[in-house]
């Protein structure tokens, strides 16, 4: 099976390689860009942890939250202001950045600034969104829809490939189990890996309880470390977590973002488990039990 390594980062920012048996990469930041000051503060705080742990990382934050349950919820700073802040973060910290886009017409501007473009899970099979993402010529972070089987993500991959993209990161953020609840099927990582593309675990959205609070989503953050350890042991190439310095005051996903004070703990564990898994591969070889059944 082919193993594709993607490289995130253009220009003078540090490059982050994701895939195969490379070190675990981290993608993180506040769910939404709240202000210039807050975005910079979070880049600094997260950067300190990642530098201390020597974890390659990509700053993530979104300028438009188009999937809010309530029309009253914070929708975001908008394309222009949001991308300007992300551009400033790139320049100031020398970091690659990623943001999602929910409207095909926003893709070009997003790709002009961001080192990676992200496709929201709800839109993971929308042809116009996939085409727009591929046309940015940036690596694409494609999240598996909560309603999708991991094997059917191959259809979205084929669309992206048809549109000229060969740099994709596939993420799991949980799968609907009935209403208002998600579960993580760990077999989705080896299944999605069969595409050859690297895979990512989105921990903070996996513990979400979608729209469980009537008009906003809840979440069970206490389960983040358990799921992170499980996914890292199963086999992932990147870990995604939304992080905030004051979750109760977060303008988006307040019930799911990880408090920055826990980041070092969780990321350390993920890194250790990932490295142990690579040691197991060295010792026992790649998993190849009953192939092609």
């Amino acid at each position: 099976m082919k193993k594709i390594i993607i490289e995130v980062g253009y220009g003078s920012v540090s490059k982050v390689k994701i895939g195969s048996n490379l070190p675990l990469a981290f993608i993180g930041g506040p769910c939404a860009i709240e202000s210039h000051e807050h975005a910079f503060k979070m880049a600094d705080l997260i950067g300190n942890v990642c530098n201390k742990l020597n974890v390659p990382w990509i700053y993530k934050s979104c300028y438009d939250k188009d999937c809010r349950s309530s029309p009253e919820s914070f929708h975001g700073m908008g394309v222009e202001d949001g991308l300007r802040i992300l551009s400033d973060i790139r320049n100031e910290f020398g970091l690659p950045v990623v943001s999602d886009f929910s409207d095909a017409s926003w893709a070009k501007a997003t790709g002009e600034v961001c080192d990676m473009v992200q496709i929201p899970a709800y839109l993971c099979r929308q042809t116009s969104i996939l085409r727009a993402a591929a046309e940015t010529n940036r690596p694409i972070h494609l999240k598996k829809g909560q309603f999708m089987s991991p094997w059917n993500m191959k259809n979205s991959i084929r669309k992206l490939e048809d549109f000229g993209s060969d740099q994709v990161l596939l993420a799991d953020r949980g799968t609907f189990m009935g209403y208002n609840q998600l579960v993580n099927d760990m077999t989705c990582f080896p299944i999605m890996s069969q595409t050859g593309y690297p895979v990512c675990f989105d921990a903070t959205h996996s513990i979400q309880l979608p729209t469980s609070m009537g008009n906003i989503s809840g979440g069970q953050r206490e389960f983040i470390p358990y799921l992170v350890r499980a996914a890292s042991a199963c086999g992932i190439n990147a870990l995604f977590m939304e992080v905030h310095d004051n979750p109760k005051k977060a303008l988006s996903d307040a019930n799911t973002v990880l408090d920055i004070k826990y980041l070092e703990n969780i990321l350390s564990q993920a890194k250790i488990v990932h490295e142990m898994r690579l040691e197991l591969i060295d010792k026992f070889g790649e998993d190849n039990v009953h192939p092609n059944e």
Binding site: S149, W151, N152, K154, N155, E293
Partner: protein
């Protein structure tokens, strides 16, 4: 009862040319391979690379056996690459082979269809049992 057989024909005179066969690119998923087999009414799909070289075959019998052994949901099996479930080193014949010898080989290895390839393993067509036997028995003309 004595049946006259015609031993002079070559495989090239009887084979179904590649344009009338299910010759599918290597990134074809299993469901599309099945559809192609139905479209061309032959129980075989040939998987070829960019240069037209034969990479593997998948037949009706392979699918039947796969359905009895695979534990995957059908929706997952459908999106597997056809190549993943194919026979990677199938029996092949050349266009210059005698048809009689080719059919004798097909009988020996119990297959209904066999890919026809040139000396560079490029797929040229399919030799199908019904056509071959009809020609050999003089029921049809080449």
């Amino acid at each position: 009862m004595s049946i006259q057989t015609n031993k002079k024909f070559l495989v090239s005179e009887v084979m179904v040319p590649v344009e009338n066969c299910a010759a599918i690119p290597e990134n074809t998923i299993l469901k599309e391979a099945f559809e192609q087999m139905g479209l061309f009414k032959l129980g075989i799909s040939c998987i070829i690379n960019f240069d037209g070289e034969l990479m593997g075959i998948i037949t009706d019998g392979d699918i039947r056996r796969k359905l009895l052994t695979s534990q995957k949901p059908l929706s997952a099996l459908f999106v597997d690459d056809a190549l993943m479930h194919s026979i990677r080193s199938p029996i092949v014949v050349n266009p210059s082979d005698l048809l009689f010898d080719a059919v004798t080989l097909m009988d020996k290895v119990k297959v209904w269809d066999v890919p026809v390839v040139d000396s560079h393993n490029k797929l040229l067509g399919i030799l199908h049992s019904h056509h071959a036997v009809s020609i050999l028995l003089g029921i049809k003309n080449a």
